[in-house]
Amino acid sequence: MSDASKTIVLEARGITKRFPGVLANDRVDLTLHKGEILALLGENGAGKSTLMNMLYGLYHPDEGEIWIKGEKVALKNPRDAIDRGIGMVHQHFQLVPVMTVAENVMLGSEVTRGAGYLDVREAERQVRKLSQQYGLEVDPTAVVEDLPVGTQQRVEIIKALYRHADVLILDEPTAVLTPQEAQELFRIMRDLTNQGVSIIFITHKLKEVLAVSDRIGVLRAGQYVGTADPKTATEASLAEMMVGRKVILQVEKAPAQPGEAVLQVKSLYVKDDRGQTAVAGIDLTVHAGEILGIAGVQGNGQRELVEALTGIRPIEEGQVTIAGQDSTHFTPRKNTELGVAHIPEDREKHGLVMAYSLADNMVLNNYYQKPYASGIVMHNDAIYAHGVQLVEQFDVRTPSVMTPASNLSGGNKQKVIVAREFSRPTKLLIAAQPTRGIDVGSIEFIHKQIVAQRDEGVAVLLVSAELDEVLGLADRVAVMFDGRIVKTLPITEATRERVGLLMAGSEA
C-alpha cells in the first residue's frame, strides 16, 4: 500500500454498546484506511454486526466516538451515514423484488424531472455508468426477483455507490454466494479499492480472509483483541485468535459402518415455486450410519429436493421411503414423527419464529408432545428447562432462553435450530447448509455432532454449498447438476477437481 492510502477514513474510538443483559461491544477501537480491505473476524455473537450497525447509524453507541474522514460524527440514522459516504450491504438484501434494478437503485433518492416525473431512463444510464466503472455487470432493466443472488448483491453495491459511498461495509457477503460468485465479488472488491473505495468485510471463511484482505481485525466477546497480517497469518492462527483456543479445522472421523437403507428415493420429480421441474428424476439411498453429501452449485434443485423429502413441498412423481415406510406424501408432521430431523436452508424463513423466545423456538416441531404438553395444555416450565439445557449444551450465546430469537446474532440463530433438530431421537437427519454463518469453533462442534449422530446409526443427508464441508464430512458424495444426480462417488474417489468438474456439468 502506498503512503496516500494510509489516510484514515473511518475510525471507532472506545465504542461500547450494551443490550439488555449483553455487553455487545466493549471499548472497541477500529480504524479503516483509504483503499484497503479490512476483514473483521470473530465468533458468533462477538459483536461484529453490532459494531457495523453503529458505523452505519442504525444503532447508537452508549460510549465512544465515531470519526469519519477526520471529523467526529454523531450518526442519528443511516441517512446521516450515507450522507458521509458510508454504504452497507446486509446479508439479507434490502431490494424490492418486483422492481427493476434501476428502480431499486434510485429508490429513496429518485431522479426526477419537472414536477416529480420519475426519470427511470436517467437512472438506468447512471447504473450502466457505475457498472462499467467498477466492473459490476448487471442489466439495469432486469427485474430483481429474476436475478441470481450474486447479481442481487451487485445491485446492492451499486445502490451504495450510486449514493456516492466511498466506504463499504459488507456483512457476511459470501455466506449466500456460490464459490464462483464469491470469486467475482472479490474481483469487484479489488476494483473498488483500486479506485479509492475502502471496505470492511465480515466473514467466517478464513480462506477468503487470507485471500482478499489487506488487514485483519479480530473481535472476541465484544472486545477488539488484535490485528493480524494476512501475509503471515494462517487459518489456524486466525481461528485461535478468534476462539481463544486451538481449533481443529479438519473433521476427525472413523470410516462409516453403513447399515440398512433408511432413505430410499426412486425417480423423484419436484417442481420449484414457478412450476418448473427442479428435481428431474433422482434416485438415491442413504444408509444408517453413513453421511451422503450432496455437492452442487446452488440452484440445481437441492432446495427442492430437501423440501420434498421433508414434506414441505409436494412431490410430482416418484417414491420416497423412510425407515421402511412409504413417505412420499407425508406431511412434515408425519415425517418428524417418523424420526426425520431437518435443518432448513433458510433459517429466517423456515427455521425460526423471530418473535418467539429461544425456549419456544426449541420446541417448534414437538411442542405438542410430552413433556412439553399434555393434551392441549402446554407446560411452559418444561419448555423452559429444555431450552436452558440446549443453550448450555450447544453454547448458544444469549442472555437468557427467554430472549427473542430476533435478538441473537446470525450464527447463534443457526445454533438454536441445530440444537433443536439434534435434540430428538432421529433416524434420518437432513441438513441443508448446517453451518452457514457459523464461526469456525462452532463449525467444529456441529461437525462433531453430525459425525456422532452417524456413529449412532443415524442416516445423514448433507446438502452444502461448501465443497470443503461436503468433502470433509461425507462418506459418499453425490453431485447434483440441473435437477439430477450426475454421479455418486465414494469419498476416496471424490477429489476436489473431479467433483468440481462434475458440479460444472462436464465429465460423465
Binding site: 454498546k17 443490550f19 439488555p20 454486526s49 457495523m52 450497525n53 452505519y56 442504525l58 444503532y59 447508537h60 452497507m88 446486509h90 446479508q91 439479507h92 434490502q94 456483512d171 457476511e172 455466506a175 421433508t310 414434506g311 414441505i312 406431511t331 412434515p332 408432521r333 408425519k334 415425517n335 418428524t336 431437518h342 432448513p344 429466517e348 424463513k349 423456515h350 427455521g351 425460526l352 419464529v353 423471530m354 418473535a355 418467539y356 419456544d360 417448534l364 416441531n365 411442542y367 405438542y368 404438553a373 392441549i376 395444555v377 402446554m378 411452559n380 430476533s406 435478538n407 446474532s409 446470525g410 450464527g411 440463530k413 454463518g437
Partner: protein
C-alpha cells in the same frame, strides 16, 4: 427508579423489565387517548362549550355513581367481546373486519332461541341461547376462514362483504319469519325473549360483563398456555415456519376465524339477552366495528381489550349526561373515539410526539432484515 446495571438479582431484573415492557406497551395508547381528548377539547371550545364542564359531565355520567358505573359496564360488555374477537384473529395474522356480521348472527340466534323455546328453567335456557349465539357467530366466522384457505380470498374483503350479507339476512328474519307479531307492532323486530333466557344483573353489575372478563381470561389462557394458541401464534408470526414445523396452517386459519366469530357471536347474544331483550335491527350496529378500535387500543392483548372497552363504554354511557348538563352534542364522543383510533393506528405520530424512539434492540421491523449475521 433502580439502575438496571447495578441490579444483580435476576428476579428483580425481570420484574423491572416487565414494568418497562408494560410501560412501553401502554404509553402509546395512553397518549393517543390524551391527544384525542385534547383535540376534542379544542372542538368543544370552537363550538362554544366548556371542555372542562363537558368532560366533567361525561365522567359523572360514566363513573359518577353506582348506577353510572353499571351503565358503563353494560356498554363495555359487547365491546369486550368484539374487541377480543378482533384481537384473537390478529394473533394468527388475520384481520377480522367481520366481527359486526358475526355479532349480528349471534344476537339474532340468541333472540330466536330466547323467545321460541318455552318451559325451560333459566339455568338451562339462558346458557342454551348463549351457546346458540356463539355457535352462529363461529359458523359465520369460519366462512371467511375457509374462503381464505381454499380460494385465497383475503379475509378483509370477504368479511366486509359478509357484514352486508349478515345485515340483510338478519333484517329479513326480523321482518319476516321471526317477526314480532304482537298486535300493533309494525317495526321489524323479534318478539321479546322469555325471562328464563335473560341474563341478570348482580346489583348494578351485569352478569354479561363478568362473562366477558372470563372470556378474556380464557382467550389469554388459550393463546399462551395451549398447543392451539401456540399454533395460532406461530401461523400469525411466520406461516412458513408453521408449515415447516408440521402445523396445519389451513386448519389453523379456519379455526382461528371460527373462534373469533364465536367471541363476536357471544357478544351479540349477551347484548340480546342482557340488554336489548330481543333482536331489533339497528340496535347493535356499531358494536362489531368498535371491536377494531378496541383491539388496536388494547394492543391486541386480551387484557388490554378490557380497559380499552371500558373507556369506550364509558364514553357511550356518559354521553347523554354530557348532552343533558353541558349542552354538548353527543356525537362529540364519536369524534373522540375516531380520533383515538386514528392516533393508535398512526402510532408513529404518537411516538414522535412523546419522543419515544424505538430503542435499538426494539427495531424489529428494521432488524429483521438489517445486518443480523
Amino acid at each position: 427508579m433502580m439502575n438496571p446495571e447495578i441490579e444483580s438479582s435476576p428476579g428483580n431484573g425481570r420484574f423491572l423489565s416487565t414494568l418497562q415492557q408494560i410501560w412501553r406497551s401502554i404509553s402509546v395508547p395512553l397518549t393517543a387517548v390524551l391527544l384525542a381528548a385534547l383535540i376534542g377539547a379544542i372542538l368543544l371550545i370552537a363550538s362554544g362549550a366548556s371542555p372542562l364542564e363537558a368532560y366533567a359531565a361525561l365522567f359523572k355520567g360514566s363513573f359518577g355513581n353506582a348506577q353510572a358505573i353499571g351503565r358503563t359496564l353494560e356498554k363495555a360488555t359487547p365491546l369486550i367481546f368484539s374487541g377480543l374477537a378482533v384481537a384473537f384473529a390478529f394473533k394468527a395474522g388475520l384481520f377480522n373486519i367481520g366481527a359486526q356480521g358475526q355479532l349480528l348472527f349471534g344476537a339474532i340466534v340468541a333472540a330466536f332461541l330466547g323467545f321460541s323455546i318455552e318451559g325451560l328453567p333459566a339455568i338451562i335456557h339462558a346458557p342454551l341461547a348463549l351457546i346458540g349465539g356463539a355457535a352462529a357467530g363461529a359458523l359465520y366466522g369460519a366462512i371467511p376462514g375457509a374462503l381464505r384457505t381454499y380460494t385465497g380470498a383475503h379475509e378483509v374483503i370477504t368479511t366486509i362483504m359478509l357484514n352486508y350479507i349478515a345485515i340483510n339476512i338478519t333484517d329479513y328474519l326480523a321482518d319476516g319469519p321471526w317477526k314480532d307479531m304482537t298486535p300493533g307492532n309494525i317495526v321489524a323486530r323479534t318478539p321479546k325473549i322469555l325471562p328464563s333466557a335473560e341474563i341478570p344483573y348482580i346489583g348494578n353489575v351485569p352478569v354479561g360483563f363478568i362473562l366477558s372478563v372470563l372470556a378474556a381470561v380464557v382467550v389469554w389462557w388459550l393463546l399462551w398456555h395451549t398447543t392451539i394458541g401456540y399454533e395460532i401464534r406461530t401461523v400469525g408470526l411466520n406461516s412458513h415456519a408453521a408449515h415447516y414445523a408440521g402445523m396445519r396452517v389451513a386448519w389453523t386459519v379456519i379455526l382461528t376465524m371460527a373462534l373469533s366469530g364465536l367471541l363476536a357471536g357471544l357478544g351479540g347474544a349477551v347484548e340480546t339477552q342482557g340488554v336489548v331483550g330481543r333482536y331489533q335491527p339497528g340496535f347493535n350496529i356499531a358494536l362489531g366495528f368498535d371491536g377494531i378500535t378496541i383491539a388496536l387500543l388494547g394492543k391486541t392483548h386480551p387484557f388490554g381489550v378490557i380497559p380499552a372497552a371500558l373507556l369506550v363504554g364509558a364514553m357511550k354511557a356518559g354521553s347523554s349526561q354530557m348532552q343533558f348538563s353541558a349542552g354538548v352534542a353527543k356525537e362529540i364522543t364519536d369524534v373522540i373515539q375516531a380520533l383515538i383510533l386514528f392516533f393508535v393506528a398512526a402510532d408513529v405520530i404518537v411516538r414522535w410526539i412523546i419522543r419515544m424512539r424505538a430503542s435499538d434492540g426494539d427495531q424489529v421491523t428494521f432488524s429483521s432484515n438489517w445486518g443480523q449475521s
